[in-house]
Structures are given as structure tokens and as C-alpha cells.
């Protein structure tokens, strides 16, 4: 193929029109431009809230234990399906908006409890015996667990007559109408689902922050992230802390999955497993493995980058459909080159 046959990635006319100052002033477009920027920013924060929720469990587990949990995405996928199952069973055509949202939060709590218990059991039975081995063993083990979870999910879904790859529409259809439209905030139309995701992301962030900074267990985890052996030498049973953190990290992955269940960009599907894992890794690596603050900052950066590039594509300025993914992974590559430990990361965590 000659270069001349390559499709144009940037639509020059659309770009010139969008950036033409005289046209903007003449038509009052400057105000519209500001509104668009505010809307893109708000949606970026919404996406960032989702990215934070799916990544924070991964960074907690790595921070204390030095374990890169490749089953994190698979657990999020299970969370999306379990949450969806609860909503499909409980929510009917006559269920009101408030009741539906209440059921959503009950599903969230149930899924968190079940997956936290399952994660704790996984740590005790599978991860604990290989702490003394090289990280390769932990990666292979958790990757194997991820494959098993995905295949079991495919089998179960197929037996239930649900296609595993396209999104499972039934739970997505339970989303109340109030979350589907846009709401005006300071003259800016923002999707209500994003506001809902921002609210949940904020609650998760505050809950994890309070757990880390206001509880004795959180103190052990932060100390253990720096020096596991020293914490043991101070009389703390680090194995118990490992079990709790792995359980909570797993539960948070599943909470992320429940949050994605209503989001038309994600939705329950087996492919959610790898999608969540990739984005979670991007966020924790950019933020700095093991850093709560870094995860929060990186989720915001990735969310806004995603939102801006999505706007560039939907307005036709850029015609390359993979712009968003390419930009996000470019951010990852640039970070690995200029600051491999990430925004807030330290070069070594947890003595690992």
C-alpha cells in the first residue's frame, strides 16, 4: 500500500472550524466552546472515577504484598455479572427509580462481601504458599486463576443461554431512566450516569482513605508497604494483614465491576476481564504501584485524556477510532520512560 492510500487521521476542515477564533466570537461559539470544555472535563472526571474504582484494589494489594494480581479484571467481570444478576432478579417493570438504586447498593454490598471472602480464601490457599518464590510464580498463578474464572463464566453463561461476549443487556436495561439523560450543571449538560459514577468513586476513595489513615489496620498496611519485615518485628501478624488486604482488594475490583454494569461503554461481558485489567494496570503504573494518591491522580489524568480524545473523535476532528486507547497507552509508555516508578511511586515497596 502506498502512503497516498492511507486514510487521513485528522480532518483538517473540522479542526480549523473548531478552532477558528473569529467564527467562535461571531456566533457566540466561545461560550459554547467553554461549555464543551466543561462538559468534556466533567465526563473525564466521571471516567476517572470509574478508573479509580477498578484500579485501587490492585494498587492496595501490590503496595503491601508486592503481588501483581492478574485475576483483578476477572473479579471485576464476576462483580458485573453478580451485580447484574441481583438487579435482573429483583428489579421488575414496576420497580421505582429509588427502589432500583437501593437494590443497586444492596447488590454492591453483597458482591463486595462475597468477593472479599473469596479473595481472602484465595490468599490463604493459593497465594500464601508462594510468597517466598519469585514474582513470576505469583503472576503465573493469578493469570491462571483469571483464565479459570473466565472459562467458568463462559460455561455458566452459555448454560444459562447468555452470550458471553456481547454485553449482557438485561441488567443494563434495569438502569433507571433518571441516570440515562443529561442534567444541567452551571449551564453544562453532563450525563447523569457520570455524576452517579463520580459519587460512587468519591465514596470508595473516601472509604479507602479512611481505612488507610484512620484505622490501626490501615496503619499496618501503610507501614507494611514500606517495610514488611519491620512491621513483623513490631509484633504485627503481617499474614493476617495480607489476607485482609487481598480480600478487600478483590472486593474493590468487584465493586468496580458492579459500577461498570450500567455503563454502556463497558457493561457485563466476559471481555470486561481483560479490559478492566489493562486499564487498571495503566492507572496504577502511571500513578505509582502501591500509591493511593498516585492511583487517584492517575485515574483523573487517564479519565480526562480518554474524555478529550473521545470528544476529538466524536466531533470528527480525528477520524482514527482507536485514538482514545492509543493516547492512554502512550501516556503509560511515556511515564515508563521518564519516571518508571510513576507519579507517586517509590522504587521499591513492601520490601519486595
Amino acid at each position: 500500500m502506498s502512503l497516498g492510500t492511507l486514510p487521513a487521521v485528522v480532518d483538517a476542515a473540522a479542526l480549523a472550524s473548531a478552532l477558528d477564533p473569529s467564527a467562535l466570537l461571531a456566533t457566540g461559539g466561545a461560550v459554547d466552546g467553554l461549555r464543551t470544555a466543561a462538559r468534556v472535563l466533567a465526563e473525564g472526571i466521571g471516567k476517572g472515577a470509574v478508573y479509580f474504582t477498578i484500579a485501587v484494589g490492585l494498587t492496595l494489594v501490590f503496595g503491601l504484598m508486592g503481588v501483581l494480581n492478574f485475576a483483578h479484571g476477572a473479579v471485576a467481570m464476576v462483580g458485573a455479572y453478580l451485580g447484574g444478576l441481583v438487579l435482573v432478579i429483583v428489579v421488575g417493570a414496576n420497580t421505582g427509580t429509588l427502589a432500583t438504586i437501593l437494590v443497586f447498593f444492596v447488590a454492591l454490598a453483597l458482591v463486595f462481601a462475597v468477593t472479599t471472602a473469596a479473595g481472602s480464601a484465595m490468599e490463604v490457599t493459593l497465594i500464601r504458599p508462594i510468597y517466598d518464590r519469585t514474582p513470576t510464580y505469583q503472576i503465573l498463578l493469578t493469570f491462571g486463576v483469571s483464565l479459570i474464572i473466565e472459562e467458568v463464566a463462559r460455561i455458566v453463561l452459555t448454560l444459562r443461554g447468555i452470550q458471553p461476549d456481547p454485553q449482557w443487556q438485561a441488567p443494563m436495561a434495569t438502569a433507571p431512566d433518571v441516570l440515562l439523560g443529561r442534567t444541567q450543571l452551571f449551564g453544562v449538560g453532563v450525563r447523569r450516569l457520570y455524576l452517579f459514577e463520580i459519587a460512587i468513586g468519591a465514596v470508595v476513595a473516601v472509604a479507602v482513605w479512611a481505612f488507610l489513615t484512620k484505622t490501626l489496620y490501615g496503619l499496618y498496611i501503610r507501614a507494611g508497604s514500606e517495610d514488611t519485615e519491620m512491621v513483623q518485628a513490631l509484633g504485627v501478624d503481617v499474614r493476617k494483614a495480607f489476607t485482609v488486604v487481598f480480600g478487600v482488594g478483590t472486593g474493590l475490583a468487584a465493586v468496580g465491576g458492579v459500577l461498570l454494569m450500567w455503563d454502556p461503554i463497558w457493561g457485563p461481558s466476559v471481555l470486561l476481564s481483560i479490559d478492566v485489567l489493562l486499564y487498571a494496570f495503566v492507572v496504577v503504573i502511571i500513578g505509582g504501584l502501591g500509591s493511593f494518591t498516585g492511583t487517584l491522580a492517575a485515574a483523573g489524568i487517564v479519565g480526562i485524556a480518554d474524555s478529550v480524545t473521545t470528544w476529538l473523535f466524536t466531533t470528527g476532528i480525528v477520524t482514527f477510532p482507536g485514538l482514545s486507547e492509543v493516547t492512554i497507552f502512550l501516556l503509560l509508555v511515556v511515564m515508563l520512560i521518564i519516571r518508571p516508578q510513576g507519579l507517586y511511586g517509590v522504587e521499591e515497596v513492601g520490601g519486595h
Partner: protein, 232 residues
């Protein structure tokens, strides 16, 4: 009463045989110094006592209980504290948080931390400061305070003067004297004179075994039985 007893202990790092049948005994209330050249097994002795590097052979008894093979947190919870080489304070935690982690096992953590602040007023002033921002001397004070606040009966102190200016070393010595008022202490120290000044008795370690022991009173590094083990 014997606070700590190591009996015929053999400890390895991988295939490296570090402690080669080392035995020692520390009575309650005394300060015992472990002296010797670099790499002879002094730090490994402390790590073995605390279960961080468990022995392959031999026995470790703490307050009369056989603790060989116990997990480090179980031994520490019985009242054995550690002030490690290079301090190892939690640099991203505040001074107060460092002490809070260590005081979790104390009957009254707040009272123990208040006592530590009384003993080390500088730590009280910097209670909300991240430990990583403290000077070397202040970090050493914090490491000692952290070893004290856990209601420990025995404190294992490793190279407390390492890398500190002489004036700061004097402060650290005073802190250790204060800490030893109600705690038995095992001290590993390269500075022979300092070790002899602080301790009641000493063990001279070489190639993973005790080669000399005795009272510290009147002992100098010029003593022939000492000098040949301290010079390369």
C-alpha cells in the same frame, strides 16, 4: 532470671553458614554487648533471636520459653523489641504513626507514647512530621523510642551510633541508658569503647561463635585477647 538464651545456634543465609554453634545468655536487667569485626554474625545473632532468620539447629529461649521456630511477630509480641541497623523508620508515616504501630501491643499505648515523648522531647515537637524528613539522629531516637513503646522486656539494638556525628552519638547513648532503666538490652556496636561504656558484659564474636566473654569493666581494645579479634 535468664532473659535470652541462645544454645548451639546454627544459622544460614542460603548456603552461607553464618552462626556456627553460637551460644550466649543474657540475664534480666543487664546490658550485654556483642562485639567483633564486620561480618562475623552479630546482626545475624539478633535476627536469629527475633525469628527473622530462624536457626537450622540449636535453641532460642526467651524468658524461659523455647521460641525456636516461632514467627517473628509471635516472639515480638512476647516482649522482644528491635532497633535495627540503619533505623528502618517508616519514612512516609509521621513520627506519631511510627510510634502508634509499635505501641499496638502495649497495655496502654497512649501512656507509653507519652512516656516516649517525655524521654525524647524532639520527637514530640515533630510528632506530625514524616519520619523520612527527620535528621539521622532524630531517626535513631525514633527507632529507639519505637523499640521502647511496645512494653518490651528485651531490646535488641543494632549499631545505634552508625553514621551519626559524635555529639549526636552522646544523645543516643543517653537515650539508650534511659531505655535500659526498665529493659534488658543486647547491643551490637562497632564502636568498642562506646559498647564497653554502656554494657555490663560483653561477648566477642568471631566466625559465628563466641570466642571471648566477660565483664566490661576495665576492658579496652588494647587488651591482647580482644585486639587480635578486632583487627583485620
Amino acid at each position: 532470671m535468664t532473659a535470652l538464651e541462645l544454645d548451639g545456634v546454627h544459622t544460614y543465609y542460603g548456603e552461607s553458614h553464618i552462626l556456627q554453634g553460637l551460644s550466649l545468655s543474657v540475664e534480666a536487667g543487664e546490658i550485654v554487648a556483642l562485639v567483633g569485626r564486620n561480618g562475623v554474625g552479630k546482626t545475624t545473632t539478633l535476627r536469629t533471636a527475633l525469628g527473622l532468620t530462624p536457626p537450622r539447629e540449636g535453641t532460642v529461649r526467651f524468658d524461659g520459653t523455647d521460641v525456636t521456630g516461632m514467627e517473628p511477630h509471635e516472639i515480638a509480641a512476647r516482649g522482644m523489641g528491635w532497633v535495627p541497623e540503619e533505623r528502618r523508620v517508616f519514612s512516609h508515616l509521621t513520627v506519631a504513626e511510627n510510634l502508634r504501630v509499635a505501641a499496638h501491643s502495649a497495655a496502654d499505648p497512649d501512656a507509653r507514647i507519652a512516656e516516649a515523648y517525655e524521654l525524647f522531647p524532639a520527637l514530640d515537637r515533630f510528632a506530625d512530621k514524616e519520619a523520612g524528613d527527620l535528621s539521622g539522629g532524630q531517626q535513631q531516637m525514633l527507632a529507639i523510642a519505637r523499640g521502647m513503646v511496645g512494653d518490651n522486656d528485651l531490646l535488641l539494638v543494632d549499631e545505634p551510633s552508625e553514621g551519626l556525628a559524635p555529639q549526636i552519638v552522646e544523645d543516643v547513648v543517653e537515650a539508650l541508658r534511659a531505655a535500659s532503666a526498665d529493659t534488658t538490652m543486647v547491643l551490637v556496636e562497632q564502636n568498642f569503647r562506646l559498647a564497653m561504656d554502656l554494657a555490663d558484659r560483653f561477648y566477642l564474636v568471631d566466625h559465628g561463635v563466641v570466642v571471648e566473654e566477660g565483664e566490661t569493666a576495665g576492658v579496652t581494645s588494647d587488651d591482647e585477647r580482644i585486639r587480635r579479634y578486632l583487627t583485620a
